[in-house]
């Protein structure tokens, strides 16, 4: 049990995908608003949980010389299946999540966890890993989305803060995404170094 708990919390903090530079591509696309970040994070969490579980169940059956297509097929079918299920049973939720689910197919994070974790560990550990990593990802994405929405659009979760005409276009563009993420990680490193005395973020 402590073992599972360790996997879960390590996904949230020191293994947080953003520190490993994985899964950033679709992340920066959707984080022009806080709600976009949150929805993308939740979609990823959903697909990651199940793909980790299935891949870890099938890990002894998938030969290593054909693993890449197998993983990709599992992830893509899961993302499509969730998309269709949501449309059928939760149409209101589907309006929000529907755009982001197909994007999870090209989210390298899910594939990376399959390759790095689920293919080597049991189903229970893999679920814990999926949950931890997924939640860590969602947190950072939502923070990044909030930061970019406040700076770029003067609002947060759609609520206007500085009046109608506030807009800094740069933060809506790729360059702004890099800047915000850079500052966000710097702030996290600063806090970590004050708390624990040593900076251990990044993998350089």
């Amino acid at each position: 049990m402590t073992h599972l708990k360790y996997i879960l919390t390590s996904g949230l903090i020191q293994n947080n995908p953003f520190f490993l530079l994985i899964g950033i591509c679709p992340a920066v696309v959707v984080t022009t608003s806080a709600i976009g970040g949150l929805m993308m994070g939740l979609s990823t969490l959903l697909v990651l949980l199940f793909s980790n579980f299935f891949i870890s169940l099938l890990r002894k059956l998938i030969p290593s010389w054909a693993r890449i297509p197998c993983y990709v097929l599992i992830i893509a079918s899961l993302a499509n299946a969730f998309d269709l299920l949501l449309q059928a049973f939760f149409p209101t939720l589907s309006v929000n999540l529907g755009v982001y689910l197909p994007l999870t197919i090209v989210n390298c994070l899910i594939f990376a966890r399959a390759e790095m974790f689920a293919s080597k560990n049991g189903p229970l550990e893999s679920i814990a890993d999926g949950l931890g990593i997924g939640l860590g990802f969602t947190c950072i994405l939502t923070l990044l989305g909030m930061m970019r929405e406040i700076l770029g659009n003067g609002s947060v979760f759609g609520i206007e803060l500085f009046g109608k005409h506030f807009s800094l276009l740069i933060f809506m563009m790729p360059a702004g995404a890099f800047f915000c993420l850079g500052f966000l990680i710097a702030i996290i490193q600063k806090i970590a170094s004050c708390r624990f005395g040593n900076t251990q973020g990044g993998n350089q």
């Binding site: 591509c25 390759e115 790729p174 800047f179 990680i185 710097a186 702030i187 600063k190 170094s193 350089q204």
Partner: protein, 195 residues
């Protein structure tokens, strides 16, 4: 169809519509393997091979299988499978021929399968209604653009080693901020509109 239009497609894909800096595609390997020019070049070569070949395969697939049988809802799943099979082949080849490069690229080699740049190039080929030759040129040129971005960034990172950023910015943050600065430079080129 003439040479000029092909050249224009290539120019747009390499410079003014550069995948990494103007469309955010392929950022993970862009940040992950650009710490040395040799690695960046290896990754660029792999992506170029995969994009060009998958452009051809997916174009044929779309024209002769998906469209005639109205299976277009399978486009993404089928395309990404084709890409994954190609990446798997490349991975096995490199593992055999150049274990050193295989070791260096690590997780980023299989990650090419979910590299958004590759999938997006094949999907854009179809969306833009390119013919086979144009699709090949577009795929190849986007990959060259990706390699260019990787090499530029690898150069910047070599300089960064000797820089002295504030403590909190060491490691990742300073990397991301330099990437942002390069992206700003490229966005200056986005005004070039090629019709």
């Amino acid at each position: 169809m003439n040479i000029t239009s092909l050249l224009l497609i290539a120019f747009a894909a390499i410079v003014s519509e550069n995948f990494v800096f103007t469309h955010y595609f392929g950022i993970c390997p862009f940040l992950g393997v650009s710490d040395k020019p040799s690695k960046a070049f290896g990754m660029g070569a792999i992506v170029t091979f995969v994009i060009t070949l998958s452009s051809v395969l997916t174009w044929l697939l779309d024209r002769y299988v998906l469209n005639p049988f109205s299976l277009t809802y399978l486009t993404t799943v089928l395309f990404i499978t084709v890409i994954a099979v190609l990446v798997q082949a490349v991975e096995l080849f490199i593992k055999k021929k150049s274990p050193a490069l295989h070791e260096k690229l690590g997780i980023y080699l299989p990650l090419t399968a979910t590299n958004c740049a590759v999938l997006e190039a094949t999907l854009l080929n179809i969306q833009n209604g390119f013919n086979l030759l144009e699709a090949i040129v577009f795929g190849f040129a986007s990959a060259i653009g990706f390699t260019l971005a990787l090499l530029i960034f690898a150069g910047v990172r070599e300089r960064l080693i000797f820089s002295n950023p504030p403590k909190a910015f060491e490691g990742l943050p300073i990397l991301l901020i330099s990437a942002g600065l390069i992206a700003m430079a490229f966005s200056g080129l986005s005004g070039i509109n090629i019709g």
